[in-house]
Structure formats: structure tokens, C-alpha cells
Symmetry: C2
């Protein structure tokens, strides 16, 4: 076929993720994906079987990589301050370098209900959450002050991280995802706004 793009499969994945992130899974049609990817519908069905299969493959590819990086960053949970920084750095790096994925992840994270995206992403979100929860559970056994506040820590961490990324996407200001910002958030997290 002498095609210039040797990997249509990957092209479909990245194109579909981009459209899903912008418009939402249900608002994007299979023809739309095919046209944007420069192929035709049956080609997409050849690789992924169905629209849901495509979404499943997108989540599998991107979320597994993300969770792996998150676990690496969480490998020294005894040091709360260091781990806090490393974890948030992973989130922010993905927001900067895998914008479509994080945008899509953000839009499905707080969904609960019966839709396709929720059903397919549930397991990944649970795994992601448990990495964070585990960090604060281990930290609690080393840092007395945290004990009894593990859940609060998790909620605060995830909440602030998502909110910061959301602000970045709205404003486009990259300083929101700088090391400096993480230091300030961590300072506020550990010692409060009056510090």
C-alpha cells in the first residue's frame, strides 16, 4: 500500500483520545474518529472490534503507564514530604506531556453512574486511588501526626492536584504546574495556610 503512516492502530488511538477529551466519548462518532485519523471505519473495527473496544484499549494503554509511574514515585512513602512532591510531579508532568489523557481522566474521575466511560475506567481509578491511599497509610505508621487523618490526606491530595491541573487547563499558565507550586502546596498541606 506504500502508506506513509506505518501504524494506523496507534494513529487511531491518539486521534480518538484527542476527540474523546475534547467532546466526550458519547459525542464522538466512529466516522468522525476515522476521518480525523485519515482512515475508514472498517479499519477501526478491524483493530478494535467496537467503539467500546477502542475506548478500552485507550484506557489500558495510557492508564497502565500512568499508574506505573505513580507507583515508582510512591516507592519511599516513609518520607512524606519527598513522596508528596514526587507524586504531584507525576500528575503535573502528565498534564504537561499527555494533555489529552489527563483531560479525559479529569472528565471521568468524578463520574459515577451507568455510562460506558465510568464502567470501563472504574478499575483504573480505583487502582490510582489506592496508590495514594497506601502512601498515607504507610506514612501514618512513621509519622505520628498523620495517624487518623489518612483518608483526609488522600482526599486533600487528590483534590488539590486535580484542581491545580484544572486551573492550568483553563488558564494555560504553566507556572501552575511548576516545582515552585508543588513546594507551596506541600507547605500549605503540611503546615497550613498560616505558616
Amino acid at each position: 500500500m506504500m502508506d506513509e503512516s506505518t501504524d494506523n492502530r496507534q494513529k487511531i488511538i491518539s486521534t480518538a483520545l484527542n476527540l474523546f477529551a475534547k467532546k466526550g466519548y458519547d459525542a464522538v462518532s466512529t466516522v468522525e474518529i476515522a476521518q480525523a485519523a485519515g482512515i475508514t471505519k472498517p479499519t477501526m473495527y478491524y483493530y478494535f472490534g467496537s467503539k467500546e473496544g477502542l475506548l478500552s484499549e485507550i484506557l489500558n494503554t495510557h492508564y497502565n503507564r500512568f499508574i506505573t509511574d505513580l507507583e515508582k514515585a510512591a516507592s519511599l512513602p516513609e518520607d512524606v514530604a519527598l513522596t508528596f512532591f514526587r507524586l504531584m510531579r507525576v500528575y503535573f508532568d502528565y498534564a504537561l506531556n499527555s494533555k489529552d489523557f489527563i483531560l479525559f481522566k479529569l472528565s471521568i474521575f468524578n463520574r459515577i453512574g451507568e455510562d460506558t466511560t465510568y464502567r470501563l475506567s472504574r478499575e483504573y481509578i480505583d487502582r490510582e486511588s489506592s496508590v495514594i491511599t497506601n502512601v498515607f497509610n504507610v506514612a501514618a505508621s512513621h509519622v505520628g501526626n498523620i495517624k487518623g487523618k489518612e483518608d483526609l490526606c488522600t482526599v486533600s491530595f487528590v483534590g488539590v492536584t486535580h484542581a491545580a491541573i484544572g486551573s492550568y487547563f483553563h488558564t494555560g499558565d504553566e507556572k501552575l504546574l511548576s516545582d515552585e507550586t508543588i513546594y507551596r502546596i506541600r507547605q500549605q498541606f503540611l503546615y497550613g495556610i498560616y505558616s
Copy 2:
């Protein structure tokens, strides 16, 4: 017609909001809404003109009420601790009593892109955010420590609030939205995790 429900208009709004919250705007069809509300499609089109008009009316009804309550709670921003409590209490009360609305609001809050829900809800989200931002701006002029951290405060507040509500929806544990939880979050916010 001797109909038992004297207000089909309201019935359509609440039914549609419930479906939108569960499955997402694009995944819900107009027939589905009509059937669930116990009416037929043309009745819905008689009241709202279009599916988008229905969504617009839903947002207008619920969001205006919510923002009004938020503004009432923010009327004494000089007292940071008190205002912090009142604001979060409004969010949590809505999560408990207007579950469908908050569920829907949560699912659209972090969307950015080209979809219908984002376009129609944008103005409300901006107004909501500015109420919070304003609180910390005024507070900063009364409490020296906050100065320069206004944006950080806003991001943290919104993030933690949403995360807590999200946890409640996932677990169903009402204690997550109790006064006690707000006190603990506020304590952590003001004095840090080591307090």
C-alpha cells in the same frame, strides 16, 4: 386531561437531570427522557424547544439557586474560619439534598473542550469560582498570612470540597459530609497536617 401530575414541566426537568447525572448528557436520548417522565417527546419540545434548551433550563434553575446560597454563605469573608465552614457546608448540603445536580455539576466541572455541557455551564462555573476567589481575596486584606496565597487557597478549597463529595458518592458514607469533617478539613487547611 384529569392528569395526576399537574406540573409536567417540572417533572421533565427533574427526570432529565437525573438521567444526565447518571449517564451523561449525550448518552441520554429525548425519547428516553420522555418515557421516564411519563410524557411524550412533543410535550418536552413544547416546553423547552430542544434538548439543549432543556439542559439550559436545568442549569439555570439549579445553578442560580446554588450560587445564591453560596453568596449568602460568603457574606462575611473577613472571618476566614467561619466563612470556610459556611461555604463548605453549602456544598455538602447540596450533595446531600440535591444529589443529581451536584453529581452532574461534578461531572462537568473539570471538562474543557467543545461539548454542549461545557459550553452551557461555563458561565455558571465561572460565577461559582469567582465567589470562592473573592472570599480569599477579601480575607487576604484582613489576614496577613493569606496574602499572596489567594489562588492557592481557592484551588485547595474547591479541590478538597469536590474530592470529599466524590468520596461520599463513591462510598455512600454520610459522615464524609458532616460538620466534624468540615472542622477537620478546615483545621488541616489552616494549620496543616502536623497540627
